[in-house]
């Protein structure tokens, strides 16, 4: 767990490594598992899978609609397809296939959005996938998972392999430290309280969880006690944990490497109907990102320890 370490000491991981090693491991004992890609073997880090199971790797080339449709057909044929592509293309380019072929059809298939958020920083907004959470959380029947570290990524992949329904999982490329504690078990709709606190709650997901923990340290230095919740599924939400936070603390800050209508919007919709409470959103709002590396962009948009701390002070009026 990173909470004990300082930022400089942290070992950062590319979650794609956990994704592929887990997939290979599952595929060793479950021959229904196949991977479907759009010329994305390298960008999905699927090399080890391709080597071990060359015949179970379906590469349709640069054709995302076909990719998701073929995934649905493989599911019809008794396979468990992991459809893996850069998140920006998997979602926007194949949106109707995600809606109909995966979700409406309630197929057991796993959509794996690689290098999501602003991981492709300098490549520009065409390659950013910051809309995915806002878009996909509205699709009925789809589970939307944003793991925070390699352990959670591996557990989410395992869970999805066994879950008879459509799942979307973000797999982060931007380096993240280990954040979930020893013995943690991923479950959809269950938040993880990484730090208790009584003044304010910071709800973070994916790559931003470690930043939320760092923000809590900054706030503690100011005498503000911040609770930090890690929210691994945007859909379903952990409503009980959020409502408790709304009741027990003075405000909620959501944090995501995404448009703020993703996690932020989901929490807002819950609170206004169940327990109205003041919120602040940390993420990207109503703009395409300028040029910059992912870490530069995270700071630019205030998706940083200091940006989160500022939002927390703001929601408390301090």
């Amino acid at each position: 767990m990173s909470t004990a370490t300082t930022p400089a000491e942290r070992v950062l991981h590319d979650c794609r490594d956990a994704w592929v090693s887990t997939l290979v491991e599952l595929a060793e004992t479950d021959d229904r598992i196949v991977a479907v890609v759009n010329d994305s073997v390298g960008s999905s880090k699927l090399g080890p899978f391709a080597e071990r199971f060359p015949e179970r790797l379906v590469n349709v080339g640069i054709a995302e609609q076909d990719m998701v449709g073929v995934g649905a057909g493989l599911a019809n044929g008794g396979k468990v397809p992991f459809v893996s592509a850069a998140a920006c293309f998997l979602t926007a380019r194949a949106m109707e296939q995600v809606k109909i072929d995966a979700a409406y059809s309630q197929h057991h298939m796993v959509l794996v959005g690689q290098s999501p958020g602003m991981a492709y920083g300098e490549l520009g907004p065409t390659h950013h996938s910051i809309e995915d959470l806002a878009w996909l959380r509205t699709i009925p029947g789809l589970t939307v998972i944003v793991p925070a570290d390699p352990t959670e990524t591996a557990q989410a992949i395992r869970w999805a392999a066994a879950h008879d329904g459509p799942v979307f999982i973000r797999v982060a490329r931007m380096g993240v430290p280990d954040v979930v504690p020893e013995g943690y078990e991923f479950a959809p709709g269950v938040a993880l309280t990484l730090r208790d606190g009584s003044d304010v709650t910071v709800v973070a997901t994916g790559t931003t969880v470690v930043r939320a923990l760092d923000a809590a340290e900054l706030l503690a230095a100011d005498g503000i006690s911040a609770r930090v919740l890690s929210m691994p599924t945007i859909k379903p939400l952990d409503e009980a944990a959020l409502l408790a936070a709304a009741r027990e603390t003075g405000g909620i800050v959501t944090v995501e490497e995404a448009l703020t209508s993703g996690l932020g919007g989901a929490v807002a919709e819950l609170l206004v109907t169940r327990h109205p409470a003041p919120m602040r959103f940390v993420g990207v709002s109503d703009t395409f990102a300028p040029t910059g590396s992912v870490s530069w962009l995270m700071d630019h948009f205030g998706i940083s320890a200091s940006g989160i701390a500022t939002a927390a002070r703001d929601v408390l009026g301090r």
Partner: protein
């Protein structure tokens, strides 16, 4: 998500006019080719009669594209395909996908004719909470392999199904019907390219080549010709057939997989609204609902 199965269709059979369907079932095994063709012709006649009554009762449907595809559906379900109601759990059964999902009424009626649906259920077509809405849904009917409706989805799904069969060394074949207008969707060409390059010889793509789409002739919208050349250049074994000739159709389907090792593309020449005098090859009948008089006239032509 609300599970729709929890909801009970509220159908008042009295309120939904419509004749009954005589279920002929599959062509008996051992039937001669002539006997098979006679069985299919009679089944197609009954399916068309039931279909037009359903569309009239619902006030909705796509009668033109339904009548153009019925002979193909009937030939597949009652003869060509290795797929019967007791086989649904068999992974090696053949698969059928109606990519032009707007012809759902034809599929539902054919499924009833083949014993996959109780014929009474046809009366729920388009009614509140019915499992039979305007486009087939795999979560609502066990025999439906893919949920279609948006054009250009069924063929990629069929490629996936065929791929799974190939991986398993299964003998099962996947048949998919696309509309000709539907072939304007690029997703189909992605799928054809994939099928051609991966040697999916157990895939059979049937083009319902009725030369009409929703608003006009295909040739006046965005023409497909030379269609056979396009399909061949994408790696298909191309066969052309009269899509209303049950004998010709069953011969073609018996030829899948083709010896060439390529997927088969069947250009089935059909007429939209076939064989009704006032509907045939008339774009107005894409989704027009017949009046009572028109139904009577059509039924008399289907005696």
């Amino acid at each position: 998500m609300t599970v729709e199965e929890d909801l009970v269709p509220q159908v008042d059979p009295q309120a939904v006019p419509g004749d009954t369907l005589t279920v002929l079932g599959r062509v008996p095994s051992g039937a001669s080719r002539d006997e098979a063709v006679a069985h299919l012709a009679e089944a197609a006649r009954l399916v068309r009669r039931r279909d037009i009554m359903m569309v009239r009762a619902a006030g909705l449907g796509h009668i033109g594209g339904e009548f153009s595809v019925i002979d193909i559906l009937v030939t597949l379900y009652l003869h060509a395909m290795n797929m019967s109601p007791d086989q649904l759990g068999d992974p090696d059964r053949d698969r059928f996908i109606l990519s032009k999902g707007h012809a759902a009424a034809a599929l539902y009626t054919t499924l009833a004719m083949a014993g996959f649906l109780p014929p009474e259920q046809l009366s729920t077509f388009m009614q509140p909470l019915s499992q039979l809405n305007g486009h087939p849904a795999r979560t609502k009917i066990a025999a439906v392999e893919a949920s279609t409706g948006p054009l250009g989805h069924g063929l990629p799904i069929a490629v996936g199904t065929a791929f799974a069969g190939k991986l398993d060394g299964s003998s099962r074949r996947t048949f998919v019907v696309v509309g000709d207008g539907e072939l304007q969707e690029g997703s189909n060409w992605e799928a054809l390219m994939t099928a051609g390059n991966h040697g999916l010889d157990h895939l059979c793509v049937i083009v319902d080549r009725n030369r009409l789409q929703q608003g006009a002739r295909v040739a006046d919208t965005n023409d497909l010709e030379p269609l056979a050349d396009k399909l061949a250049a994408f790696g298909m074994e191309v066969v052309e057939v009269n899509g209303h000739d049950h004998g010709a159709l069953l011969d073609v389907f018996a030829g899948v997989p083709a010896p060439s090792g390529k997927p088969t593309a069947v250009i089935a020449h059909t007429d939209k609204g076939h064989p009704i005098s006032f509907m045939s090859d008339n774009v107005a009948w894409h989704h027009k609902v017949p009046s009572a008089e028109q139904v009577a006239q059509a039924l008399s032509e289907l005696e």
